[in-house]
């Protein structure tokens, strides 16, 4: 049985006062806090190793242990998402870089198209927009419904036999929508199209089985899953990773660079190393492995069930006040553990809402995010104009949050809403 109060102690910042106030951290969709175990894993690298990793690079003891531990971390990630092999796991800086790798190296032809949605994070959309512009291919957009959900039939209209890839967000960082990924994968595969899923907001909160879903590529940001900043993961079916071109080139991605009669002939390594140019974030990789261990020790289903009950209370509590518009589906079962909302009255800038909770409440700082969450197209679609400074406030939860924190927030939100009368 999980003792949640003990888990909370692994995040010391939550036990500290900041400017004399207790912290309630509701910004995990942007950046999760990191448990002690993650820092310790990183500290081990920096304190006791500090050497180069990478197969065959530095074969001395420190280099060998670095290579061994980072490859063990890769195996942990592979098991975490049920990849067939650790060779399907590419280390990146974040989900954004993963998307850019796929888009940039995708063998896309001019008469082919790419499908994405209006609800994508810019990182799931713009790399493919750029690629299509460069190649002269068509980028097709599936509009999310106004409540942030999707009809699989809308994908059937957009995907055809010329669709190369579909970029699709599994859990939206704006509306919290949990999308019908498996249905979209099946539709795409009927047409021979690949699917890349943006798992930045899903994988940290629920069990992800890439084999069961049969998704072709997935990208994750480890910093949203208790891990260190600057570490991400690109998953790809091995035979598809082989078909992608090169991204960054230089050291660590080559088997040999032959110099023959004044000509350079590089021979590149197979996946995953062909995508990991230069010396890597070894300390971060160890931290990522520790983060996965931490999540596995609790259990992803346990995390999902707890967060779902919390996000239900959060969602229903905000709706009960009847002073705020909530983005996304109103059924908590269709949502990830975040709620984006905005005052029904257009009286104030959304950043004022966040700053109010950061600085104006006695005893607490409730830390949330305001803005457009890098999902401008969907907001334009539903009548929020980011170009005019309009946006939302987002409260997002994770394993260290408590029911008491949600109740404190809802009480303060009620106080706040009186200013809107």
């Amino acid at each position: 049985m999980v003792v949640w109060s003990r888990i909370r102690k692994d995040f010391p910042v939550l036990g500290e006062l900041y400017e004399g106030k207790s912290l309630i951290y509701f910004d995990s969709a942007c950046m999760s806090l990191k448990p002690v175990q993650v820092w310790e894993a990183m500290e081990y690298y920096y304190k006791y190793l500090g050497a180069c990793g990478g197969a065959g690079r530095s074969t001395h003891s420190l280099g060998q242990e670095t290579s061994q531990l980072t490859e063990e971390a890769r195996v942990k990630i592979a098991k975490f998402i049920n990849a067939r092999s650790a060779n399907e796991i590419v280390w990146t800086r974040n989900a954004t870089e993963g998307m850019n790798i796929i888009a940039a190296t995708l063998p896309l032809k001019k008469d082919e198209n790419v499908v994405t949605t209006s609800l994508e994070h810019h990182s799931g959309m713009l790399p493919f927009f750029k690629k299509c512009q460069e190649v002269g291919s068509e980028l097709r957009i599936v509009d999310a419904k106004p409540d942030g959900t999707f009809d699989a039939s809308d994908f059937e209209e957009k995907i055809d036999d010329k669709t190369k890839i579909v970029s699709f967000v599994h859990a939206s960082n704006l509306t919290g929508t949990i999308a019908p990924l498996k249905e979209v994968v099946d539709i795409s595969h009927e047409h021979g199209a690949w699917v890349v899923s943006d798992e930045a907001q899903y994988a940290p909160h629920a069990e992800l089985d890439v084999q069961k879903i049969d998704v072709d590529f997935s990208v994750l940001s480890v910093h949203k899953a208790l891990g260190p900043t600057g570490v991400g993961v690109l998953y790809g079916k091995y035979e598809l990773l082989e078909q992608l071109g090169m991204f960054l080139v230089g050291g660590d991605v080559i088997e040999d660079v032959v110099y023959d009669n004044g000509k350079i002939v590089p021979k590149y390594l197979p996946p995953p190393h062909k995508f990991e140019a230069g010396l890597q974030n070894y300390g971060g990789m160890l931290g990522a492995g520790a983060a996965v261990d931490y999540l596995n020790n609790i259990g992803m289903n346990t995390i999902h069930n707890r967060e779902q009950s919390f996000s239900r209370r959060l969602l229903e509590g905000i709706l009960e006040l009847d002073k705020f518009d909530v983005l996304g589906p109103l059924d908590y079962k269709q949502r990830a553990s975040l709620v984006s909302f905005r005052p029904k009255s257009d009286a104030m800038n959304h950043n004022d809402v966040t700053e109010y909770f950061n600085s104006m409440i006695p005893n607490y700082k409730i830390l949330m995010r305001s803005g457009n969450m890098c999902v401008h197209p969907f907001q334009y679609q539903i009548g929020i104009n980011p170009g005019k400074g309009e946006g939302v406030t987002r409260a997002s939860l994770y394993i260290y949050n408590t029911v008491d924190e949600i109740e404190i927030f809802l009480g303060e939100l009620e106080n706040f809403s009186r200013a809107l009368d």
């Binding site: 009286a347 104030m348 800038n349 959304h350 950043n351 004022d352 809402v353 966040t354 700053e355 109010y356 104006m360 305001s370 803005g371 400074g389 946006g391 200013a419 809107l420 009368d421």
Partner: protein
């Protein structure tokens, strides 16, 4: 403080010289009057961060109102 932050502070200060007090939302709406100066001040968050710096400097006061934060110039800052 970065050059970027300094510029945003200058943007907010310049707007407050035109209209004080002004809410975050009003300041956002007035950025278009100073497009070059306020080019980097792209969100209400930028306005708030700049405003808080000005509060710390004692140049501006901040008050919570039914329309959000109102920022009031309390000390004129010479440009030289």
């Amino acid at each position: 403080m970065s050059e970027f932050e300094e510029r945003n502070i200058e943007c907010v200060l310049t707007i407050l010289k035109e209209k004080s007090p002004a809410t975050t939302k009003e300041i956002m709406a007035m950025r278009d009057l100073f497009p070059e100066l306020c080019a980097g001040c792209s969100s209400g968050g930028d306005v708030i961060l700049a405003g808080k710096q000005l509060v710390e400097q004692g140049v501006v006061e901040r008050k919570w109102t039914s329309e959000g934060f109102a920022w009031k110039l309390v000390k004129f800052q010479s440009s030289d």
